[in-house]
Symmetry: C2
Subunit: 343 residues, 2 copies
Amino acid sequence: MAVTIYDVARVAKVGIGTVSRAINNSPQIRPETKKIVLHAIKELGYTPHAIAQGLARKKTGILAAIMPFYTGHFYHELLRGIMKTLSKYEYDLILYYVDRLEVKNNFLNRTLQERRCDGVLTFSMEISDEYAEKFSKSKVPLLIVDRAHDKIDCIQVKNEEGAFAATKHLIELGHKNIAMISGHKESAPSRERYRGYERAMQESGLTVTPDLFISADALDNPDLLQQNDGFNEHVGESAMKRLLQMDRKGITAIFAGSDILAIGAMKAIREAGLSIPKDYSIIGFDDIELASYLSLTTMQQPMYEIGCMAVERIMEKFEDKESPVRQVQLSPTLVERQTTAPL
Amino acid sequence: MAVTIYDVARVAKVGIGTVSRAINNSPQIRPETKKIVLHAIKELGYTPHAIAQGLARKKTGILAAIMPFYTGHFYHELLRGIMKTLSKYEYDLILYYVDRLEVKNNFLNRTLQERRCDGVLTFSMEISDEYAEKFSKSKVPLLIVDRAHDKIDCIQVKNEEGAFAATKHLIELGHKNIAMISGHKESAPSRERYRGYERAMQESGLTVTPDLFISADALDNPDLLQQNDGFNEHVGESAMKRLLQMDRKGITAIFAGSDILAIGAMKAIREAGLSIPKDYSIIGFDDIELASYLSLTTMQQPMYEIGCMAVERIMEKFEDKESPVRQVQLSPTLVERQTTAPL
DNA sequence: TTCCCCAACGGAAAGGCTTCCAACCGTTTC
DNA sequence: GAAACGGTTGGAAGCCTTTCCGTTGGGGAA
């Protein structure tokens, strides 16, 4: 059997309470006594039993992260920021990967009920009012990243602003017939980015006609929608193919709703024997790792920072459970690479 | 206060033992009784407290994964396999990201001592004899992925065989002056892959002269070695630059010890105004996600499968703690893309 | 009818910690 | 000199479950 606090107490000739105080550097212990206890601990090679501590303290030292599965691109940097910050607080991370949306709520329920973790981070997932309510009532803080809900803390990028800047960038390069390729229209980021695109066009006196805009749901291929709200390479490719076929306006630039869409579109363009940025300028959104390798101009989301901020914020909520809801919005920044050029 | 097993017992008018039996579908309970208990559970919205269960059962339902930080490429598919298989066993995953090698042993110690997890997976990390010993003695199963130790279970790819096949592929395309770019020589995969390269060359009557081989440590730049045992883009790029400068043999093909090295090398080649595969054929190792986007020919490691197998195996060890050490080796397979061509 | 056996059940104990309360003792205060 | 006080300390209670052991009661065997 492993060595317990009782063994330490016996060896140090003190009570178990004193051992506990020595470990948790409580002020209620004489320095000499503490030294004796610490010595005994070292001698026995004692380490507190994390589970037992968790039970007694009613807190686990664990944060849960629920993230979608299908795309690694987006989450690596985010995870880095999270882990880095978490280690500062001596917290561990349990990772829940969501492969089908149906399981999302299972995980939310589990984190609420099993009390295995002290708080929850979700990523790129809509939270229903029902769950928002449940979490508000519970003692488990929830923070959602890359989505919003007015009753819950969240951190996300300003999608509309970013899309506006991306489109503006194309316009400033002289492009007038600018198409947009988008993920599923039902997803909030899709809608917000569309609004930014539309606003930029309108402010420059350009009109957005239906044939300039293709979203994942217009492709009549339910399979393509499945993955990641339509933010996937196949959608980008199919949408671009359609643009290539149908275009009567002389489109010269494309704003893709995400890098992965842009990458799919680039594939279609190249397969059609056309070149980038000579025939088409294209700009993405996210700045995933692939983007730099493929020299894609894009709007960068500061993911590492978002990861850090998410953890900092949830730690704050551990301290102050009553802290009012806070919604943080960060501005994406333009990263110019080789896929955009003057008309 | 949350609802406990005592509340359920009271409502169902049974003892707490009976409630426990109902939850854990023990055979020692009458079906009718069970139904009553289950009904009470539903009525109260009771969920067992995972931490308390952990303490009582002396098992946590958590697996720890310790993985290096700096490279996302390699681990996403692995994680997918792990999570998929884990969910089958109703286990959760705690993720420890290692950013500096010094912290590696901290994590190993913690997993051993805090008893927060039932087993440990490590990735691409050498395990010292000291820790191998500690884990063997302890009740915490350890399985190492992508590295080997003769006293510990492990799963890895046949590096030598893969490197042999890669080199052979280049030879069969007619290349004779084939260089190799490698990670840090101290790392086991580097050495094994070198052996495969050397053997393939020798068996074809080609000689490996020192100027055909550049490893990360030859670059006299300690910074480059830091990251990932020298398996990083900068090393690939620097090594290739040097090959381009120094080459007197007329090198026509390069075997890179990993995809990320290959990608760095490709960058250097293109920056020198040369083209692939016209001037140089290049083959990598791993088949990370980037490889397909960059059309890199490479040796594929079945990472998803490795992730699944790792979990299956460690679950076996939970059942049978005395199960003898098992070392699994998988063969990588050639994926031909556009970076290799006949001489 | 009596006895035995076994399935089903109740609840104490155990798991290892934190925390709270009571006790203790050396000081300080009146 | 007695009383009040405050810094330390010991250890019981509590956190919530599982498990083990003793009990109960009904059915079958003698």
